[in-house]
Symmetry: C2
Subunit: 333 residues, 2 copies
């Protein structure tokens, strides 16, 4: 390349990066050859010099899930707009894999990490202690690192969802939640539910609490388990839309009508919330925008070369649709 244009590599570098003045003559010559040969500098070599890769590691538990797939799109868009690319890894909620990927991120000298932790273990702690790399945590309040985290207020959102059901006259309210160790969708959402019940003078009925991974089958199974109890709830708070849909499927398959026989509120406002009939009443969180914001926050850390601990709480919103109703005309159970 430099040869072809009859200049030094330095000059080529200078015209490409516009880093130092170059005479218009040489510049033109170089530009011509660039156009002809389609030359572009090796990002790898550049990376070696600058100790920057312009690569962001994005680690999430699952792709095939509206929340995450939209989040990815948001993050990708912002990354692209800032000259970054995304190295995507899927952890499948496996802590070992998470730590494994973390060190891959390190070895590859990624410029930053966006990380949806499933559980912050000692191995995680160790990594972030030993190694310094701009990071944004997703979905959980990770307080023990200097890095920001971004999430919605799961406690509050769940409190509101439960309160909403209570305001509709429900007193027997069950919950379909994530696994206990999943702080945000398991623990926090359960806490909100519990608190709302308590504040209304209602008791938590353990038989109406079901925990497992968020997927449709578990929603189905969870609802089944609960409907096999002697005493039945009149409303359910499903901590994800997929759980809600699974639950509704179970109920409909067994002759129950929604919302006439059971009110169900979901969480996420996934695309399916409106495709599904009845349309889901749910808590909306803007996952695309959360991905975008996480990426903005990360890039800011990278370019400013400083990270400040901050907590980004995203707004959520209760959207009332068709899967919930007043208790007034509920059958006696």
């Amino acid at each position: 390349m430099a040869q072809k244009a009859g200049v030094s590599v330095t000059t080529v570098s200078r015209v490409i990066n516009n880093s130092k003045p170059v005479s218009s003559e040489l510049r033109e010559r170089v530009e011509r050859v660039i156009k002809e040969t389609g030359f572009a500098p090796s990002e790898v070599a550049r990376g070696l010099v600058h100790r920057k890769t312009k690569l962001i590691g994005l680690m999430i538990p699952k792709v095939a899930n509206t929340f995450f797939s939209q989040l990815i799109e948001g993050a990708e868009q912002v990354a692209k707009a800032n000259g970054f690319n995304i190295l995507l890894t899927v952890s499948h909620m496996d802590m070992e894999k998470e730590v494994d990927y973390l060190s891959i991120f390190k070895d590859r000298q990624l410029d930053g990490i966006i990380f949806s932790v499933s559980q912050f273990t000692n191995l995680h702690r160790q990594f972030f202690n030993e190694f310094e790399i701009p990071t944004v945590f997703l979905g959980q309040q990770i307080k023990e690192t200097p890095y920001p985290y971004i999430l919605i207020d799961n406690f509050k959102a769940s409190y509101e969802a439960t309160k909403y059901l209570i305001n509709k006259g429900h007193e027997k309210i069950g919950i379909l939640k994530g696994p206990d160790y999943d702080i945000s969708t398991g623990y926090e959402r359960y806490r909100g539910y519990q608190q709302a019940l308590q504040d209304a003078g209602l008791a938590v009925h353990d038989d109406w609490v079901f925990s497992d991974f968020h997927d449709i089958n578990n929603g189905y199974r969870g609802m089944k388990t609960i409907m096999e109890q002697d005493e039945l709830p009149t409303a359910m708070f499903a901590c994800s839309d997929v759980m809600a849909v699974g639950a509704i499927n179970y109920l409909q398959d067994h002759g129950f009508r929604i919302p006439q026989d059971m009110s169900i509120i979901g969480f996420d406002d996934a695309e399916l919330s409106t495709m599904f009939r009845p349309k889901l009443t749910t808590i909306r969180q803007d996952s695309f925008e959360m991905g975008a914001e996480a990426m903005r926050c990360l890039i800011e850390q990278i370019v400013e070369k400083k990270t400040e601990k901050k907590e980004i709480i995203f707004p959520h919103q209760l959207i009332e649709r068709e899967s919930t109703a007043e208790t007034t005309n509920y059958l006696r159970r």
Copy 2:
């Protein structure tokens, strides 16, 4: 690192890569320091030496779509198992972006590309002519490059879907398809539909043909457009499940029953096919496995250092569920 262990960097390299014999004494010393410091070699520097990055570029039009999100998971799993990582880009069906990303892939010296092309333009052609990089195309028969492509037989699958409807006694069959320039989900699926109709002595009714991007709203809109015609079909072939769901929503919202008043067959067997009620009759394609296989095929090219043109046709399968029925007791229209 080398200093700490009191050896040369070469020796360190040798124990890490096990590339040449090292005395057990030095080896131990080095290993100890590695353990202590958590040292790991820079992938970037390695990449520069080897001209390999162990990175695969994956370009798809959309993440938030079951077909692609599962495909990503399949590809990621295989990549990981072989020591590769994925650089993910989302093209949003934008040809310029596609070409743009292609050259990013080149500049970053990715080891290979898995590419779901929307339309193979001159710019694409030019890229693949000028530049040699292991590639696997996804979803379209790209015949003009030396690289393999992987897809299902869209023509045949659509023929079967349409034939299935015909066998149920339907003679008035509409179609909700992808945009024309989308060879696989637009053109090929339309061709299969058309051929099946023709072979059965049925005519294509242009008013029952609707084309647009595959999403739920377009399914809704498409069905609306068709239902506003004077003469109505008794069955629809939706070229994607999301289209099918949109269509069903429209019909149900307007008092039609599925499948009693209209039979609908989808395409993809997305997760929602069974969550949705009525459960969708659809054409199943295994996108996870397609992603995995594409990655295997790509990695083979990379390690064998040779590419042979091949065509990987994945099986598809018609799955009969609840959204289709015999015409026998259809209302006269």
